[in-house]
């Protein structure tokens, strides 16, 4: 979907300013580092497939430059890659941020702007009073919060709640398992698709993509696979101690692209499903938030992200996450 590539490109372009705004408003550093990143491949065939994919994305969306590199050239940037890496791609727009600090910055910014954050509540139902144009989010224990607007952004819980306000927003999930090493002196200057080093020194290794329903556990088999792949990529990691392994579920739609939508039958109700909530955070804050909050009209770029696309009985969906 070329619209999605453009959407991502624009989000990445806005991240620098967004990071600065969060820092200015809250003093919290989201950990943004945007100096490019590498995708590393173990076979010529895999590298060629990657080159074809990136060429297609750049052709369709425009302004997403990349460069294919031989291992020898990559080594100038990442001296510690091992002999099994045969080549890869360099994306100037790639970067990383710390999602925990991002969340903290967003919460802190909201509170400073006067918002209440109420957590630890399970919303069981959304009631719509059409005559008054008001919605009530009702918790299992009977508490309610009423407003003329409601945004259902409950990750894997979106489908059930959105259907109560006339939005078709099916969710599916894949599990990602990740390994975390002890904190190490910096040796990886750029993030890669197989491992990255955080500002604090931990190396994050991952992730897997598994269709296992709602099971967010870890498995010995995948931990072993991740560890082996990391050592094939950076052999020195064989000496690193792992301190954690975890699994988590990605909130996805059947085709992997987001849903951003206002209800046709209950105006004022919205739904969001998105599996790149970190990459897209800037555009969510700058474009989606103001629209759903009633400050701007619907941005034209979000039309293709309507959940109605999943109502077509004849359509078949594939996703790569």
């Amino acid at each position: 979907m070329p619209e999605y590539a453009r959407w991502t490109r624009d989000a990445v372009g806005q991240w620098g300013g967004f990071h600065q705004e969060l820092l200015d408003r809250t003093g919290v550093d989201s950990g943004l580092v945007q100096k490019g990143g590498f995708w590393l491949g173990f076979s010529e065939e895999e590298v060629q497939k990657r080159a074809d994919l990136l060429a297609k994305i750049d052709r369709e969306a425009g302004g997403i430059p990349f460069r294919m590199m031989e291992a020898s050239e990559i080594r100038q940037y990442l001296p510690d890659i091992g002999p099994k890496v045969v080549g890869g791609s360099w994306g100037a727009q790639d970067g990383m941020a710390n999602p925990l600090f991002l969340l903290r910055a967003l919460h802190s910014g909201l509170k400073k702007a006067g918002a209440d954050i109420i957590s630890g509540i399970d919303v069981a139902a959304i009631e719509h009073n059409a005559a008054k144009g008001r919605f009530t989010a009702r918790s299992g224990d009977g508490q309610g919060w009423t407003s003329d607007r409601i945004v259902v952004a409950a990750g894997l819980g979106v489908g059930e709640l959105a259907s109560q306000v006339g939005i078709h927003a099916p969710t599916v999930t894949t599990r990602g398992q990740v390994l975390i090493t002890e904190r190490l002196k910096p040796f990886m200057d750029y993030p890669t698709n197989k491992a990255r080093q955080t500002a604090e020194g931990s190396v994050q290794i991952g992730s897997t993509t598994e269709d296992v329903g709602l099971d967010d556990g870890t498995t010995v088999e995948k931990i072993e696979w991740l560890a082996r792949r990391a050592v094939d990529t950076f052999p020195a990691l064989a000496n690193a101690r792992l301190v954690r392994a975890w699994g988590a579920l990605r909130p996805l739609t059947p085709d992997g692209y987001p849903i951003y939508q206002e209800s046709g039958t209950c105006p004022g109700a919205f739904a969001v499903v998105c599996h790149s909530g970190v990459t897209l955070a800037a555009i969510h804050a700058n474009v989606i938030g103001p629209w759903m909050g009633g400050l701007t009209d619907a941005p034209p770029d979000v039309v293709p992200f309507n959940g109605k696309r999943f109502l077509d009985k004849n359509a078949r969906f594939v996703r790569d996450h």
């Binding site: 510690d80 190490l184 002196k185 040796f187 604090e200 020195a236 101690r241």
Partner: protein, 112 residues
């Protein structure tokens, strides 16, 4: 401020003792306790400096969770003192910041 240790290990009659070396100094400590317990009860203060800001740190949770007790043991950096039992002849050093991996082509060029 008291320089006496706040941590005491009850001495039993006939308790087996071992010798460990900490920063070049020999300490006699009861056998069967952890490195972190041995160093706390010997009043050796901070055992490591933190990775991001370089501030002094000492064992905290004593159960393997917080990683505040990291020390170098017999040449291996960043070992959890609270999860390692003392052994006669063990050589222990303070852990300064993050360890560097062996065998880096970059030679840990970014390492401070």
């Amino acid at each position: 401020m008291t320089t006496e240790t706040l941590f005491l290990i009850p001495q039993k009659a006939g308790q087996a003792m071992v010798r460990i070396e900490f920063e070049g100094e020999t300490l006699r400590v009861p056998d069967g306790i952890s490195v972190a317990a041995a160093l706390l009860s010997s009043s050796r203060g901070a055992l490591r400096t933190s990775i991001v800001k370089g501030t002094p740190r000492a064992p905290y949770c004593m159960m393997g969770v917080c990683f505040e007790c990291l020390v170098e043991i017999d040449g291996i950096p960043a070992r959890q003192g609270c999860m390692t039992l003392v052994r006669d002849g063990m050589i222990i050093k303070r852990q300064s910041g993050a360890p560097s991996l062996d065998g880096l082509a970059s030679g840990g060029k970014n390492g401070k």
